[in-house]
Assembly symmetry: D2
Homo-oligomer: 381 residues x 4
């Protein structure tokens, strides 16, 4: 099988998520990092490029330069990975799409839904694939949840309870100064939403990905706790889905005792699913009138649609990196089919699509709109 | 120590909660059931009276008769327990208070806040004590939670997440007919709210009891799922407390896989408390920057205010009956002090007060108001 | 239904277990405590007798006096409860049996298996019933486990893993003096075994009660940790059952972090059961090739043999007191049948029998024998 | 930093563990697989070599050929990874050591302790490093446990309870034929022990690695359940450590409901540690008289010795592959130091050493000895 090639925008020394993307792709062992625009600091990008074995000629200063140069090469990258602060997602993605280069972009996709729709238009124009790394859809048990819903196991969905508390911001809040703040806490780099964009979109996406439900309207309260806070760090929303289901979403960056506790419960009229990201090797499945069951990743009773992502046997934990790797496995499969001239419907491959990225941006902006209007109900387009 | 005497209104054969009240009082072994008005069916009340060893002369046909007769006796009961369907709480409580007889009443206290305020007026007039059996405040670890908040252990409270899912109604919904429905599903017996009144008030009360927070306003969505449904069976609310804390409450009677899963998390700026009713022998306490700790009922590190309610050593489970018994232990202490002529401030004894009962009725009515107005924000008085 | 009458030997002021027995019987509300020999201290027994409303004429100084006096009364007690330190179980039980009075006795039944067999002979001679309060067999989910095994749900049993760690002794060890030590740490009051007798017999009994397996031989290591220790406080045993199943039992009083953590796992060739006493409202049931299931006390899918013991609905916790109460409910049923002249096979009623008591004494003595011989294998009779 | 090079013996197509080793090394991104002897089937090794991009000239037919050829190259591999069935560990390791090539070998190290001591002699002679992939020592929280013990946090160790149940063999047992059996069930490939060697040594090693305790003697019962069974599939052992601590080890391949549930509890006189492999991101730490605490991988309160292995932030799960990768990270560090001419004490690097491998082989052979002698006590050398 031909090895694929990719480049990365962002993910410089010390950036957590860029390193995870690279590790995940290495885990799959079917694509190599051959170029990048890792940092605006020349020394930092040189350092990382050397560490990663990047040809200095392909270690670019800017994404514009990278897109132009790669677009012109015969052996150009198969896709670009974008892991910059949020505000640069749009221009960077655009630059690669316009060169006909496929894109994988971190969430939130961009800052406004308009940008997202623009990216969609450009991607369609240039026949480009586009994946959005909503990580948690990559877990085997997320795939199992999705398939169980599709198989009708839990029946018609009535309620969805989603939460995603963290507490890492507490310490950061106390040390933030105007000069020294993380980009996630800086509206100029992060956009209008902080927790709601960074974490809230994960809930919104996981629910949408697994259940297919579309939000009709929402009422959202954003809190800014702590003296150093500028953007929201606690988010509470009532949700009404098209078709009559309802739900509540909560996310926080100041919830003491919670590390990264995405937990989603989907209630149907025949059964309930519960997924907890920190225990990603399990899925709780309860059918009406029966005792709760703990499904284990890798077990023989999983659906084939989920089992095909299993890497190590049941009881041998997989984690975050495998979730990312599964998304890249899907994406690479689409890239290969595309290169082979096959018709590619991105929704068939399993990775979160550009449309899901747009939905996420729409979601968090509507949350901010609602909160600014007193947590009143706003309708989604 | 003088044994006390009480009577019961409601709680006839087959009524679950009346039996629990009697068992709890027996557990304390300081009061005897001497009279009752258990049922509107003569044969049923005769049967139960015989089983319980009630003097037939004090086995009354109606609460009016019981209140009048007991009020006239020299050896009258020390208190009346009211465990009827909701709509009769008010008239029954009123009847005893007007005879100067203390009252313990099931929640929700009554159907309208006006009724509640009226009861308060009458109780004050007649110098009567009044307890409301919000059961879950009776658990040792609820007392521990309250004391930890009072001791400042978790600092200033920022968020409160409360949930209380059940699934028992699912089967019932399918068999409901106009002639045959449980009183909880019948507005004529239950009042305007079902899940929100029966379960939602437990969340509201536990939070208020433990944290002292008062709700300023709320936005509430009530769902009626299933074809047999008349009243709400799924409740989702955004909460804003006076002083800036916020929260979300969810309760449901159609959440498959959940038995009676009251769970409340209180987040302060110094720590977090988590109480799960089904695991009532534990309390999760996390201080900022430290690992989560699992406090165990009966352990030596509990506060004295909680430890005094411990009945059996740590690791030997207590349950629902002990929670009720603790409330009755508190109430009996107040009754004894009252009989001894001491000044009694009901808030000092630990049992949920009439004011808390009124707050609960106010809460669920405002939830219904909000939902009827499209889940818009309503302010509490 | 006629109310029954019982008396108690031991259980004076401050004695934990006597109070639990009395509370459990009150919970059932079918028998009254009418006499006792609570303490060797005259003032203590007077104090408790007054508190419990015992006729001073039936508040006896010794169990010998009590047995003789009650045996001579027309309205004598239906049974005697024996909750003294271990060494007095045998003479006290004997005294009542010889008066034709049924007995309920705490575990371990007595100090030597010979004593136990003697009690059996006397009980048979006098037609007396005899229950042993191995508490944990009283939990609803222990009954469910037993019935599932009987129904063949887990197939033929291969392995049994039992453990019962506590840590309460640690503090006690440091304050023990020759003059001041708890009776459980005093061979003169407790017998040859401490943890092995107090806790080990609970494992042995639960396994025997639920599975019907009989121990063929065992190898047991007893440890005495801590400088104040005289008797064993940590017990480790390999077990071989008749028929080929094997297992391991561990119990400890010095296992930091464990309150009262009896946990037993029974592995068959079709499935596995796991019972954890501290979570007594649940039973984990896993069938081969299927996800683990969490059975909940009170749920509709329980066997009728277990469901009949359910007191409060699923999700409303029951605990230690209910477990005791269930045993007394069984015992009272046998007493009533006996009084009604029916043929009574004690094994049909559900309470742990005298034979189980004897088996427990045999078990712990063999453990001590094994340990004294260097933890070599010893065969049970 | 110079990239390192390694080769692999075994790990052909379909072999689970070889793929995990390669993935783990890719995750670290500091060494490349450049040669191998993956399979005795020419087509299989050709297929895998092509997939992995191995130069066909370095895709060897046998480990003997590979050792000789690599030993002769100027650019020879830095180490060989041995992931064959057990019986070939010894000759393969020997072949590379004799060429002066460092070795990483799967556990159990070999079949007899004599072989192990021979490897030690040869490794010392040739100045070779030797790591044994006892995977579970690689988890961050295993490192945390080790450091907490070293820091005296739990005091002097009294008891160790280790268990490692699986159930995968059940299905295999039913399909085993003389012609078709997994190598783990074939004494000719696996050696005298199956579960005891494959799983039991993991318990033995983790305990030794974390606590430093040495086993003085043991009594072990091996069961062969199921009709297809030849070797042990259930292991129960009593352990006495040098210095007075005791313990019990249990492992099984027929324990329905357990995937890969290594769980070890270490009890000291000041505290207790509990590690559960399937929840490898957590460590339960209980100090005497305090509530149990749940330590989370990545949290700020971890020891520096453990924190340095953290790859992704707390709450973002790491799993099996990271555990392997950590061992390889340690090993590569030692290799680099060795190449740089530094004195290398292998015990300082963190990876499990050859001596630990020998201890494991000694352990499982003594278990088999004991079982064959009727589960009597045998002393370790």
């Amino acid at each position: 099988m031909e090895r694929l090639k990719y480049g990365m925008v962002g993910g410089g020394p010390g950036a957590f998520i860029g390193a995870v993307h690279r590790a995940a792709i290495r885990l799959n062992n079917e694509a190599d990092l051959v170029c990048g625009s890792f940092s605006s600091h020349a020394d930092k990008r040189a350092e990382l490029g050397a560490e990663l074995g990047i040809d200095p000629a392909r270690n670019y200063a800017t994404f514009e330069e990278m897109a132009a140069a790669e677009g012109a090469r015969a052996d150009k990258i198969d896709w670009a990975v974008i892991v910059t602060p949020n505000v640069w997602h749009y221009p960077a993605a655009k630059a690669f799409l316009e060169q006909g280069i496929h894109v994988v972009c971190e969430k939130p996709l961009c800052v406004t839904a308009e940008q997202g729709r623009d990216l969609k238009r450009i991607a369609d124009e240039h026949g480009c694939l586009f994946g959005v790394t909503y990580t948690y859809t990559g877990h085997v048990m997320s795939r199992e949840a999705r398939q169980l819903v599709r198989n009708g196991v839990i029946g018609e969905i009535r309620m969805v309870m989603g939460e995603y508390p963290q507490d890492w911001l507490l310490d950061v809040l106390e040390t933030i100064t105007e000069e020294n703040k993380p980009w996630r806490a800086d509206p100029k780099l992060s956009g209008r939403g902080a927790a709601v964009a960074d974490l809230g979109t994960h809930i919104e996406n996981w629910v949408s990905y697994v259940t297919g439900l579309k939000i009709e309207k929402l009422a959202c309260n954003l809190d800014v706790f702590g003296q150093g806070g500028v953007l929201d760090n606690n988010v509470e929303a009532l949700i009404k889905f098209k078709g009559g289901a309802t739900g509540m979403y909560w996310t926080s960056q100041v919830a003491i005792g919670f590390d990264n506790a995405l937990k989603i419960r989907v209630f149907g009229d025949k059964g309930t699913l519960e997924f907890v990201q920190e225990e990603n090797n399990y899925l709780k499945v309860t059918l009406r009138g029966k005792p709760p069951q703990i499904y284990s990743r890798g077990a023989g009773y999983l659906t084939p649609e989920a089992s095909k992502y299993v890497r190590v046997p049941t009881g041998h934990p997989e984690g975050l990196t495998e979730a990312f790797a599964n998304i890249y496995k899907d994406f690479a499969a689409a890239v290969r089919d595309k290169k082979a001239g096959k018709a590619v419907n991105e929704e068939d491959y399993g990775y979160p699509t550009l449309q899901m990225g747009i939905d996420g941006v729409e979601f968090f902006n509507k949350c901010v709109d609602s909160s600014e209007a007193g947590a009143t109900w706003v309708t989604l387009d």
